[in-house]
């Protein structure tokens, strides 16, 4: 339990750093809204039905945002070499992993909500389907993205390629997530019955649970020397 409390402290610290300036939040909102706007603009809507594309684009925005976020989550740690001192406290490695993943997740949720709202609005998706079904898809999907991002975000810090390495390492794992996520979300938009979605949702949960556990177990290999 003590370790969970420490994980929580790390989450709080990360979120505080993230939202230290209220403007950062503002900037993120603007970013997602503008991205939605751009997509709406760039896609010729007379030829492409908004709903078909919206699901895919929401997931892509989430993917890009979480990939960018994973790098940033370790920027503040490295700025003055604080991570080294964090590692030198008695906190366990899984606790660091969980704490940072939770902070990452909170930001991803914000982006998801924003992307959902702005993309459905801009692409003219009137009927968005069941909120519960959406939650059942986005919840495991975002957990998987957050955990993967935290894990490889840390790894890429040690590489001379830096954040450029991140997508190379994460995308092969995340492409299936995006695929299942996007197809499920599209089905929810179309109001398909739950059994048509549950298979993908189960897979997403398997990925989420797996990535959290494997990440926690292996995290010490990417932090400690």
């Amino acid at each position: 339990m003590n370790e969970l409390r420490r994980a929580w402290l790390i989450t709080l610290k990360d979120l505080r750093l993230e939202f230290r300036t209220g403007g950062r939040l503002l900037a993120m909102i603007a970013f997602v809204v503008l991205a939605g706007f751009l997509f709406a603009f760039a896609l010729d809507q007379s030829q492409v039905a908004g709903r078909d594309v919206a699901a895919a684009l929401i997931w892509l925005v989430i993917l890009f945002a979480s990939t960018a976020g994973a790098g940033r989550i370790f920027d503040a740690e490295e700025e003055e070499g604080a991570f080294r001192h964090l590692l030198l406290t008695p906190v366990s490695r899984p606790a660091i992993f969980l704490g940072k993943t939770a902070a990452n997740l909170a930001v991803i949720w914000l982006v998801t909500a924003l992307a959902f709202i702005s993309l459905t609005a801009f692409l003219g998706v009137r009927d968005t389907g069941s909120p519960a079904a959406h939650a059942a898809v986005f919840l495991p999907g975002t957990i998987g993205l957050a955990a993967t991002g935290t894990f490889f975000g840390r790894m890429s810090r040690h590489s001379s390629l830096g954040d450029t390495l991140l997508p190379v390492l994460t995308f092969p794992l995340l492409v299936p997530v995006i695929f299942f996520g996007a197809t499920s979300t599209a089905r929810v938009f179309l109001g398909r019955p739950w059994p048509e979605i549950s298979g993908s949702a189960r897979l997403l949960w398997a990925f989420a649970v797996g990535s959290v556990f494997i990440g926690a177990a292996l995290f010490r290999h990417v932090t400690d020397e």
Binding site: H158, L161, L165, V168, P176, L218, H221, V222
Partner: protein
């Protein structure tokens, strides 16, 4: 040990190449045309063994990497690199022969369907494996990271194998390893198995040779790596 290793490796490579030459002869002159697809089907005898060898290599990398993470034994890491190079090479052969075949059989080089995509992603994972290794300044850390990538990436393999059953797919299902036994005509099966033996020997030979070289290189003091590299070749 490593001299022996290199000799064994060379022997296996020679045997593998000889067998593959034999397969070429079989493919060209011996085995009959497959009824539906005609002559292009013969690429089968390269494509399938390449795919299997890739999986074999990937399996070795995953296991060796897991062992390395656990015990930090240099030998495990040397085995992992040696096998990972094999995975990259034979994976490339599979990814090249597949589309060539697909162009004729399906009328398109590439199709965005799960099996093919996952296979390509697996190959990218191994690209990432070498990128991580080479871009991390501390070599010990680089090895560890690469091992982590290999272990995590190998979780893709079962997904690839079952993807044909889970999704409607262009790609053919298993024709040899299936519960009710092989469904292939016997002369085709013989050619396939010979080719498989050749590819496997070639891979194992390259693997043994690379492993021995890798071991040798690590035993020499770090400052002298450049010269020893030259000397070995």
């Amino acid at each position: 040990m490593s001299t022996k290793g290199r000799i064994a490796g060379l022997a296996l490579v020679t045997a593998g190449v000889a067998t593959i030459l034999l397969v070429h002869w079989m493919v060209a002159f011996w085995v009959p045309n497959e009824a539906a697809q005609g002559v292009v089907q013969r690429i089968f005898y390269v494509h399938v063994p390449a795919a299997w060898t890739t999986f074999l290599a990937v399996g070795i990398v995953a296991i060796a990497s897991a062992v390395y993470l656990w015990l930090e034994d240099e030998r495990a890491d040397a085995a992992a690199v040696a096998a990972a190079e094999g995975a990259l090479i034979f994976g490339a052969i599979m990814l090249i022969t597949g589309p060539l075949w697909g162009r004729i059989a399906w009328g398109t080089y590439w199709e965005w369907e799960p099996r093919l995509t996952l296979t390509l992603l697996l190959w990218f994972t191994y690209l990432g494996y070498f990128l991580v290794r080479s871009s991390v300044a501390d070599p010990r850390r680089g090895k560890r990271f690469a091992a982590v990538v290999a272990v995590v990436g190998s979780l893709n393999i079962p997904l690839i194998h079952v993807s044909v059953e889970w999704f409607r797919s262009l790609h053919p299902e298993a024709v040899v390893i299936k519960p009710e036994g092989p469904t292939l005509p016997s002369d085709m099966l013989a050619t396939l198995l010979t080719s498989l033996a050749g590819f496997t020997m070639l891979f194992l030979g390259l693997f043994t040779f690379r492993y021995a070289v890798e071991r040798l290189r690590r035993r020499t003091p770090p400052t002298a790596t450049g010269e020893t590299d030259e000397a070995l070749i």
